[in-house]
């Protein structure tokens, strides 16, 4: 799979897919989309990059170990539930704040934090499995 065309286009394709995955993640609260599907798109982006340029390049590009990314996601998701202790509501209750940044109202919520957590778990988990499989093929 190491053709020159593929190797040339893969980084652009990966960047585009990661961007799209973040878009899908953020639109997920009110429209189709969300953390899981966004995470899958991002994981497949890294898988494509791995097929084109080798697993080592992906690991370098990710910066963190995939399992550490998944762990950070799990941590964020559980923290999203724990916020409800302060609101005296049931575990995992959705809590919203609407701060203004430069005059624009931004909706921040615990469901969003949870969704970002799911996104990271899926990105980390699936790309670590995909990278493990790709590593073996190249042996």
């Amino acid at each position: 799979m190491r053709t020159i065309i593929f190797r040339f286009t893969a980084p652009y394709l990966t960047a585009l897919m990661v961007l799209f995955s973040i878009f899908v993640l953020l639109r997920g609260h009110n429209d189709p989309g969300g953390g899981f599907i966004g995470g899958l798109i991002a994981a497949s982006a890294f898988a494509i990059y791995g097929i084109a340029c080798g697993v080592a390049a992906v690991r370098r590009a990710l910066g963190f170990h995939p399992m550490a990314i998944a762990a950070a996601g799990l941590f964020a998701a559980v923290c999203a539930g724990i916020f409800s202790v302060f609101a005296k509501s049931g575990f995992m209750t959705g809590l919203w704040i609407f701060p203004k940044f430069f005059g624009t109202e931004v909706a921040l919520s615990t469901p969003m934090l949870f969704d970002i957590g799911v996104y990271l778990v899926v990105v980390g988990g699936i790309s670590s499995i995909a990278l493990a499989l790709e590593e073996r093929e190249s042996d």
């Binding site: 170990h65 399992m67 550490a68 998944a70 762990a71 950070a72 996601g73 799990l74 941590f75 559980v78 923290c79 539930g81 724990i82 409800s84 202790v85 005296k88 509501s89 049931g90 575990f91 995992m92 209750t93 959705g94």
Partner: protein
Amino acid sequence: MVHGAYQAADFLVVAPVALCLLFGAGLLMIRKRVDWHPFVAIPGFCLLFAADVLLLLKVAADGPRTMMMGDWQPPFGIAFTVDMLGALFVTTAGFVALASSIYATFSISRTERRYGFFPFLFLMMGGVSGAFLTGDVFNLYVWFEVLLIGSFGLLILGSEHEQLDGATKYCFLNLVATTLFLVTTGYLYGLFGTLNMADIAEKAGRFENDGALLTIAVLYLVAFGMKAAAFPLNFWLPASYHTPRFVVSALFAGLLTKVGVYALIRVLLMLFPPQHADLATLIAWVAALTMLVGAFGALAQSDLRRLLNYFVIAGIGTIFAGLALTEPGGGAAAGMVATSAGAAATDAAAGEAAALLPGSTSQVVGLSGAVFYAVHSIMVMTALYLAAGTAARIAGSSSLRVMGGLWRSRPALAALMLVFLLAVSGLPPFSGFWPKVILVRGAFQAGLPVLGAIILLTGFLMTVASARVFALAFWRNAPAAPEADAENAVFRAEGEPAPLVSLLPLLMLAVFVVAAGILPQWLTELTDVAARGIVDPAAYVGSVFGGGS
């Protein structure tokens, strides 16, 4: 009860799960700092155990507690409901997890820690705690899968040939079992339109006892029986439980099969009492055969670890015996009622058993004994595997042909092992004795003398197997020329542990084994409350829908 304003103390219901996931995630994030892992993990497990104990105390004081996820009102949201049964199991699980994690600090190598031993351990404990605390059938399935994923990770730690072989069988069969659980849950939803356990418990009484409910009950029995390794679905257990590290085997043997038993108690006994009564004869036969398979299997093994596998199965059979007890003359269990003479003996025994647990029906007695035995079995099986791990590391092998001389070289370890072996065989004055007394008396009271006799026979056979273990591995002098065993290298590589650290977790477990053996009253009171809560789930339903508490 309107579920709205929760105080901080109410969050104890979800604390075990949240703590496990938080610590697991945190440890995974610092995966490269393997030296820090024990110093984060041990306080984490201490915290988990403390939360479990507080939860148990709260349930003992206030009755079942419920928290609705995300403030959705029942029966629509996911409920976390904890009653005495769940609190007892989750506390026991927290205790053995703490003991095992202390043991793991020296028995798990740096590479294995780096691979993620402690994070997977926390993930598995999160799944186990979630399964004990949830009040929703589908959520129970999800926690089963969480604990399975954690256990898969622990099982292949090291990636040796043996482990890959064992893991393949374990993974496939457990996956089929959970899928069967999911199938049944689909049928359940189709029939009831709800998956909240309290809601189902209330509605199930209004259904006719027709084929549909019985089908669901049988499917749950098969699925959970497979998870619990009951005969004839037990073959995956002896094929896999001896392959991972000893501390992993210890936790698996202690906890995972008991999660299956817990789910069976929760779903079959609490939600479908009439169907349970119909199936009581079947469960009695399953219990009897599981006990015998476990006892005879243990006698035939020449490897200490594989012998302990069969002890697990025998323990599961004993717990199932407690679940087979229903009201005498209920039409159930006819196959095992010997003669009318047996029925006459029943009445006499009824009075005695009632004296043991005053004002109890035989179902409550059986269930109470089963829960007691399950708690004892979690503790003692974990302890046995941990002690066997230390012994095997010192002897350089876990084969009974090679081991020997440990009484002379390690008297403290040998003494602890003797305590655990006596406890697992059900001999006084240790924790295995009282639940067996309750179960045997309960079996006679319920008109199942054959079952009672088989419990006693199993106890005898396990005593023989235990005595053989002690005589061969500990009492005799070390054999002159140890066979060149391929495993030797593995065990020796782990190195000999410091005596004090390796004995601390065993001492912790031994304290329970002795305390529950000499003063069983405090534990029987708790298990009795748990059993009554299952037989009459009004308080459980009340904590979810209000009116009860």
